[in-house]
């Protein structure tokens, strides 16, 4: 037994801020100083506070080190590992209290969070199946296979109130029931790991930090609907997530937890990983199915829904990564336990990727129903550099902006929709007074114009025209008629597009028009951008002309 166990965050954000150099330094120092038996190093998935990376926790005392460098590592090895004295000045500090903290329990970033889906993320070695099993992994699969009928499993998931975490929030139990009831000798489970929203990295973090939870969720879903085969569709731009899933799958197969005759119950379930090229539209379920079938990733009209006619025309359940990672907890702790968190209509927790102008960016998991204010100001620590909060963009390119007056709204599917945003997959970008709302809308439109598959006219042509108008406004050429046309186009594209991409792409425009119309008007009438983001190319000449 080692004296110290170091959990070092190997999430993608920490890796990009230099985790590998720090880790290698740690390994070599430990070797040089003959501490190999005393200090054990485990590389985990994302621990959450990405802004402070690279981070590591030292157990048994729970010292939480942040912003690590090679020099800091050297001092930590000498002081903490050799002499038993945590290096206080490198520990996490709360900006408010300016007080050094030694235990993560008393860091506000964690206080209001409730980690269910992320409970293993950052706490175990994701490349070691035994660690997952040590945390109760595959117990839920064992339980459903040996004690429950598929109908009972579906009943539990239904009673838990779990809704899809991929954006639309469709009740998961109901989706499984449709697929179970659908006729067909072959059925499929697909895990949607496409995660195309800019600013979102929840699903990636789950796959990197707790890949077995996804596999276990899929196997349980397979048993529930009567499928023997599952696919994980994940974008190739997530190489670490792909690698961890591959390792997990290999280990699970070796143990017989995925494959033939699982737990000697006669249930067979195999999983294959398919890499996507990273097109936003491929996250849409019918396009994703086409992509797995080897066709171009284009959506088709619904109905028929995938639960009836999905992959190769067979009944298929397609669920988001986070949805599936919730399943084992629901089976083990019961639907009532799960439903005790959240609101009347939205149960459980949601993982958010907090980014933008907020002090603590990172990966957070909160009970659904927490207010935006709590999320941004308590967990997020408020706005950077004492600037003024302007809005929060939630739900990515399908979502919208919510202004200050609605900060006390509880975060749940219905409230967000009524404010013109959506829960989406959980990307949350905080904007301050230096952000221009017209430019913001333009940014998302540029994204959806690029990502439109071009099949239907409203989306292909309508979005492009909307983009052109926004471009004109941000350059100082916009007219009042443009504004009216923009709104009309937005409504038309929303109601006439074939798939969810076009149906939701106008949301960033509509929501900024709803709450920030004065900024649009300032751009058009006063040729002014209050955030000083837009450059009005010909402003000078126009002024001269007038004189």
């Amino acid at each position: 037994m080692p004296i110290f166990t170091v959990l070092i965050c190997g999430g993608a954000a920490c890796i990009s801020s230099g985790e590998e150099v720090v880790k290698n330094k740690l390994i070599s120092l430990i070797k040089d100083k003959n501490l190999e038996g005393d200090v054990k190093i485990i590389e985990t998935g994302c621990m959450g506070p990405c802004q402070y990376g690279p981070v590591m926790i030292v157990y048994p005392d729970g010292s939480y080190y942040i912003h690590l460098t090679e020099d800091k590592i050297e001092k930590i090895v000498n002081e903490h590992f050799i002499k038993g004295r945590p290096v206080k000045e490198f520990l996490w500090e709360t900006p408010e209290a300016r007080k050094k903290v030694e235990e993560k329990k008393i860091i506000p970033f964690f206080e209001k969070q409730l980690k269910i889906v992320l409970s293993n993320c950052g706490n175990i070695d994701p490349e070691n199946i035994d660690e997952y099993i040590g945390k109760g992994g595959y117990e839920a699969l064992g339980k459903v296979l040996t004690e429950m009928t598929p109908e009972e499993v579906i009943d539990i998931v239904t009673r838990s109130g779990l809704r899809g975490r991929g954006g639309a929030g469709f009740p998961t139990g109901l989706k499984w029931k449709f697929a179970r009831d659908a006729k067909g000798d072959e059925k499929y489970i697909i895990c949607n790991g496409d995660e195309g929203d800019p600013g979102a990295f929840m699903d990636r973090s789950i796959c990197e930090g707790d890949p077995h939870a996804v596999l276990e969720g899929m196997a349980i879903a397979g048993y529930a609907i009567g499928a023997n085969k599952g696919y994980i569709y994940i974008r190739a731009e997530y190489p670490l997530a792909v690698k961890r899933l591959q390792i997990a799958l290999k280990q699970a197969k070796k143990y017989g937890l995925i494959g033939k005759n699982i737990f000697e119950t006669g249930f067979n379930f195999d999983i294959e990983i398919r890499m996507g090229a990273g097109a936003f539209v491929c996250g849409e379920e019918t396009a994703l199915i086409a992509s797995i079938e080897g066709k171009r990733g284009q959506p088709r009209p619904k109905p028929p829904f995938p639960a009836q006619k999905g992959l190769w025309g067979k009944p298929t359940v397609i669920n988001n990564v986070e949805t599936l990672a919730n399943i084992r907890h629901i089976i083990l702790k019961g639907p009532e336990w799960f439903a005790s968190y959240g609101t009347e209509k939205s149960k459980g927790t949601k993982v958010f990727a907090l980014s933008g102008k907020v002090k603590n960016t990172g990966l957070v998991e909160v009970p659904i129903g927490i207010t935006l204010r709590e999320l941004i100001f308590d967990i997020g620590g408020g706005i950077q550099n004492d600037k003024k909060f302007k809005a929060v963009q939630i739900g990515g390119p399908s979502g919208g902006c919510i202004p200050e007056e609605h900060l006390d709204t509880p975060i749940d599917y219905e409230s967000l929709t009524s404010l013109g945003a959506i829960m989406g997959s959980g990307g949350l970008i905080v904007l301050d007074e230096d952000n221009c709302m017209v430019s913001m809308a333009k940014f998302f439109l540029e994204f959806t114009v690029d990502e439109s598959c071009g099949q239907c006219i409203p989306c292909r042509v309508g979005l492009k025209q909307m983009y052109n108008i926004l471009d004109k406004i941000t350059k100082g050429y916009g007219t009042i008629e443009d504004l009216e046309r923009l709104e009309e186009l937005a409504k038309t594209v929303k109601t006439t597009s074939l798939c969810g991409l076009g149906q939701t792409a106008p949301n960033p425009v509509l929501s900024t028009l709803r709450y920030f119309k004065d900024e649009y008007l300032e751009h058009i009438i006063d040729k002014k951008c209050r955030a000083n983001v837009c450059k009005f190319e010909f402003k000078e000449e126009r002024v001269k002309e007038k004189i």
Partner: protein
Amino acid sequence: MKLEDLRKIREKVQKEIELREGKARVKIVVGMGTSGIAAGAREVLKTFLDEIEKRNLKDVIVTQTGEKGFASKEPIVVIEEEGKPNIVYGNVTPDIARRIVVEHIVNGNPVSDYVIEVGGK
């Protein structure tokens, strides 16, 4: 694999995880300040680890701390046990460390000759 096999792995690893997170019945805390190390605290610490490993004690962890403020009695070792006052040992050698494991931790009788304080931290 059968469900029983899974549970065996779980029990073993669960214990390991609890220990690394500091959840243990008994904690042996070795003072490792500069003077402690000079007085041989590192050897004492290694001996504890060795004995615990040998006896396969699954709910005991060894940790270290800085100066304890008993400079004349280094190496200092504190035994923290749930629901009992802490016991502080002074002038601990590897031999005494072995005795502490057997007599105190396994059999529950502190090695009274070397106890310098009861209830201290």
